[in-house]
């Protein structure tokens, strides 16, 4: 029996051709892929600056002879690295790239609710990204990704303006994407798919979208205020002009704390899909994971002040924010326990995506637990603005969010390109990334507890931090090797990858019921069978060629019965 998965079938990739068929597309799958490659490009850019940071710190320059230009170059490097990685990589990674590709498929629909708005979001994103990248050429952006005034408004060069405009436009892209997902999830679920029959990835995307539309306008306004102050000398944040610099920090973190959950919630969503599929078991505690996503989204709005314990905000506020911060930690912990419980009595397959998934359990464990040290007032005063914080947020943003992104890419790659990447190279890549990651950031925890301040272009010898920096740089080389290998294994598969059946892994969510890659309009029958998203008995293994197939297929389901080459 011929399989349904060959690329010669007409699918969304080969249905139309030419630049405009991609650039002007409203197909959520193509938009998802364009986001994916744009994000990867930005990741390479951000990674380049990361290596520049590491090489500077591990002794390229000498503390005594480092010139002002070299210091500026370093300050520029950590700013560009942070800003690109946050605004152009982690924030759009899962929601915009994977979310766009997967959400309508998981819902069994043809597209998102507003396909043209979706295209507009992508074009806005490109404009924002271009402005951002332009700052690299017009000046020496050196404010840190946090843009704190009065430094950003009165003491540094004009590239702040393009950067801030870029971030402003990116914000709109993010808001529109969130809006689109919220409407799509509310309005386009198949009738049988009640809220509590929805895959957890959708819950996570939904919770993320709530944050995107509620928090992003605030950063938009704050950044505009920076522009107003910088260009028109209207005093908002600068004391000499009658402003208050701490006010900016409130505005900034009112967005940027929720934003860290824009980064991690989708990663947790991917994680829930991975763990269920690769344990071939219903996810443990479905409802509590779903509700934890919503709880996190809500609580994330009331903890921002934990970034400001030493800023001069009132002590009472600090106390309240500390208490509230723990309220976010509880639902995060619950998720981790649920994932582990899912492994119990499962049938665990160590595929490439699952290796990323298992890494996340450990790395998010460390990232989350170290968050407790920072949520606690007495200890945060000591750790604030040291490398302890740097290590903490890399464990959550790289170790959890980025690994979730990578796990998601490998998981849905068969759906995107019709080929499976699950071989020695891709597994070794994950292992290298895991080991390298820990080598890079574990020493930073120790340096941080020794008092090592962040955003320093060099450390004097007497400070005694050189060892941590060298270890960290060594680790970053291993990490980079792993990531390059991972990307390489994906690229190679595009040429001669192993063809994928509709459902190579045994997922039960709807996207696995359509051929890989899907046809232009996602499903050949409409709508596909909707069952419990984690009832693994609904599919059974039929061998390499056919992958997993539904146990009780509908008679008219073409991806099960036979192939109708559709064109």
């Amino acid at each position: 029996m011929p399989s349904t998965n060959t690329l010669d079938r007409t699918n969304y990739l080969n249905a139309t051709k030419g630049f405009m068929s991609w650039f002007w597309t409203i197909d959520h799958k193509r938009l998802g892929l364009m986001y994916l490659w744009s994000v990867i490009a930005c990741f390479i850019l951000g990674g380049f600056y990361a290596m520049k940071i590491r090489l500077t710190l591990s002794g390229d320059v000498d503390f005594a002879t480092q010139t002002a230009e070299q210091m500026n170059a370093y300050n520029n490097a950590f700013t560009v690295h942070g800003a690109v990685m946050i605004f152009l990589v982690i924030i759009p990674s899962i929601p915009a790239a994977l979310g766009n590709f997967v959400v309508p498929l998981m819902l069994g629909t043809k597209d998102v609710a507003f396909p043209k708005l979706n295209r507009f979001s992508y074009h806005l994103w490109i404009i924002g990204a271009v402005l951002f990248v332009a700052t690299l050429f017009i000046g020496n952006l050196d404010t840190g990704w946090t843009f704190y005034p009065p430094y950003s408004t009165g003491h540094t060069d004009p590239s702040v303006i393009t950067a801030v405009l870029g971030a402003f436009i990116l914000g709109f892209s993010s808001i529109f994407t969130g809006l689109n997902f919220i409407v799509t999830i509310h309005k386009m679920r198949p009738p049988e798919m009640t809220w509590f029959k929805m895959p957890l990835f959708l819950w996570a995307i939904y919770a993320t979208a709530l944050i995107q539309i509620l928090a992003t306008p605030v950063i938009g306004i704050s950044l505009l205020l920076i522009l107003v102050e910088k260009t028109m000398q209207i005093g908002i944040f600068t004391p000499e002009l009658g402003g208050d610099p701490v006010f900016f920090q409130h505005l900034f973190w009112f967005y940027s704390h929720p934003a860290v959950y824009i980064m991690i919630l989708p990663g947790m969503g991917v994680m829930s899909e991975l763990i269920a599929t690769f344990c071939r078991k219903s996810i443990f505690g479905y409802k509590s994971i779903a509700l934890a996503s919503i709880a996190i989204a809500i609580f994330s709005f009331i903890v921002w002040g934990h970034h400001m314990f030493v800023s001069g905000q009132s002590e009472l506020m600090s106390v309240i924010f500390s208490a509230l911060t723990f309220s976010v930690a509880v639902p995060s912990a619950i998720k981790v326990f649920n994932w582990i419980a899912t492994m119990y009595k499962g049938s665990i397959a160590f595929t490439t995506p699952m290796l990323y998934g298992m890494s996340i359990i450990w790395l998010f464990g460390i990232g989350g637990l170290t968050g407790l040290f920072l949520a606690t007032l007495g200890t945060d005063v000591y750790f604030h603005d040291t490398y302890f914080v740097v290590a903490h947020f890399h464990y959550v943003m790289v170790g959890s969010a980025l690994f979730g992104f990578l796990g998601g890419i490998f998981y849905w790659w068969p759906k995107m390109y019709g080929v499976v990447v699950d071989n020695m190279a891709s597994k070794i890549a994950c292992l290298l990334a895991f080991v390298g990651f820990n080598m890079t950031f574990m020493p930073q925890f120790i340096g941080g507890s020794k008092g090592m301040p962040r955003r320093y272009a060099a450390y004097g010898e007497s400070a005694g931090f050189d060892g941590y920096n060298e270890a960290s740089t060594l680790g970053s080389m291993v990490l980079m090797t792993g990531l390059v290998l991972a990307l390489g294994s994906l690229l190679v598969s595009l040429k001669n990858g192993k063809k994928s059946p509709a459902n190579p892994w045994g997922g039960v969510t709807l996207e696995w019921q359509t051929p890989s890659p899907p046809p232009e309009h996602n499903f050949e029958i409409d709508p596909p069978v909707v069952g419990d998203p984690y009832d693994m008995t609904l599919v059974e293994w039929k061998g390499e060629e056919e992958g997993f197939l539904p146990v009780n297929p509908r008679a008219d389901a073409p991806c099960v019965a036979d192939v109708k080459p559709s064109a």
């Binding site: 002002a68 430094y151 479905y286 002590e315 009595k345 049938s347 606690t376 007495g378 000591y382 450390y459």
Partner: protein
């Protein structure tokens, strides 16, 4: 509650250890004890996570159990309550101890000895109640400063202000940190308990030389401190002008940006500079004479030497006419 019962055994760590720099102030131990409490709770949780995943991964691997796992529950309200409530209790304890310590370290005692810290890009200046001043003091930078000198065992409060952007005042050995915010005063306090010298860092990013905004804190015995204070009271009028100028130079941290050894830093080096002709950023040139030096101190960014950025802050209001004259004499004396 369990955490409380465990506390004493968990808190054996004092002094220098793997994680922290030595404790040199009374309340430093509060931070460390709290840290170790959270650390051991977290370590326990982490080991449990790692063990559980590792054991499950081995026991329930697909190559062993096959494709269809045996039946197991999909949720369990009692287990879920247990693993929500127990961590929450520990978190309540963390919050509570953190809150207690925070409040304790925030209330400045009435009888404190107040040193003023004046932060600007990129140096620290310390002003003592006796009217004496000192600055900087980083060992690796060799900036000539004496650092912030404090008497052992006395309660010291620090009142901080910034002339330009945000800075943050951090002494890891004392476990204290507070942002220095332009436009308002911020405070912190400590009781130094160990003689010695301890690094001081700026921990809020403040521009090009953020990483050089360093200093040290020197803890002296009461007697040594009294002697030191006395030594600082220099009557400039009794010194030859060039030497008086050198004192002014040191006190105001000019060396943070200007070398007197012939290498350019943030600003041009200033030895052999008097009397030379400099090209300015606008292409015109100027002779380094008394008036130019005076202008450069009071209104530094009007005439900037080509190749440098207008980053120097004005010293107007900080230096009086006499002091400026002494500085001019000092710079003159640097011509060979």
């Amino acid at each position: 509650m369990i955490p409380v019962a465990l506390l004493p055994t968990l808190l054996q760590h004092t002094q220098e250890d793997f994680w922290f720099p030595t404790q040199a102030a009374r309340d430093a131990s509060l931070v460390d004890e709290l840290y170790y409490f959270i650390f051991y709770v977290s370590l326990f949780a982490f080991i449990a996570i790692v063990l559980a995943t590792a054991i499950f991964a081995v026991k329930f691997r697909r190559s062993k159990v096959g494709l269809v796992p045996e039946d197991s529950p999909h949720h369990s309200t009692s287990i879920e309550i247990v693993w929500s409530v127990i961590p929450s209790l520990f978190m309540v304890a963390m919050f509570w101890y953190g809150f207690q310590d925070f409040v304790a370290t925030k209330q400045i005692p009435d009888n404190a000895y107040e040193i003023q810290v004046k932060a600007k890009k990129w140096d620290w200046k310390f002003v003592y109640p006796e009217g004496v001043e000192s600055f900087g003091g980083n060992i690796d930078m060799n900036d000539g400063g004496e650092g912030m000198v404090v008497p052992l065992g006395r309660t010291i409060s620090v009142r901080m202000e910034s002339a330009d952007v945000l800075h943050s005042f951090s002494i890891p050995n004392f476990r204290v940190k507070m942002d220095v915010v332009p436009g308002r005063y911020t405070y912190l306090w400590f009781i130094p308990t160990e003689l010695g010298e301890y690094p001081l860092y700026c921990t809020e990013y403040c521009g090009t030389r953020h990483s050089r905004m360093l200093g040290k804190v020197v803890v002296k015995s009461e007697e040594d401190y009294a002697v030191w204070l006395e030594d600082q009271v220099i009557d400039l009028a009794t010194l030859p002008p060039a030497e008086a100028g050198f004192e002014v130079w040191k006190k105001n941290g000019c060396a943070a940006c200007h070398s007197t050894a012939g290498v350019n830093g943030i600003g041009p080096f200033l030895n052999n500079r008097y009397g030379t002709t400099e090209t300015l950023t606008d292409g015109t040139s100027v002779t380094v004479d008394d008036n130019y030096i005076r202008e450069s101190i009071l209104d530094p960014n009007v005439k900037v030497v080509a190749g440098f950025s207008p980053v120097m802050t004005s010293f107007a209001g900080q230096l009086n006419d006499d002091e400026i004259s002494y500085l001019i004499a000092y710079l003159k004396s640097l011509n060979e």
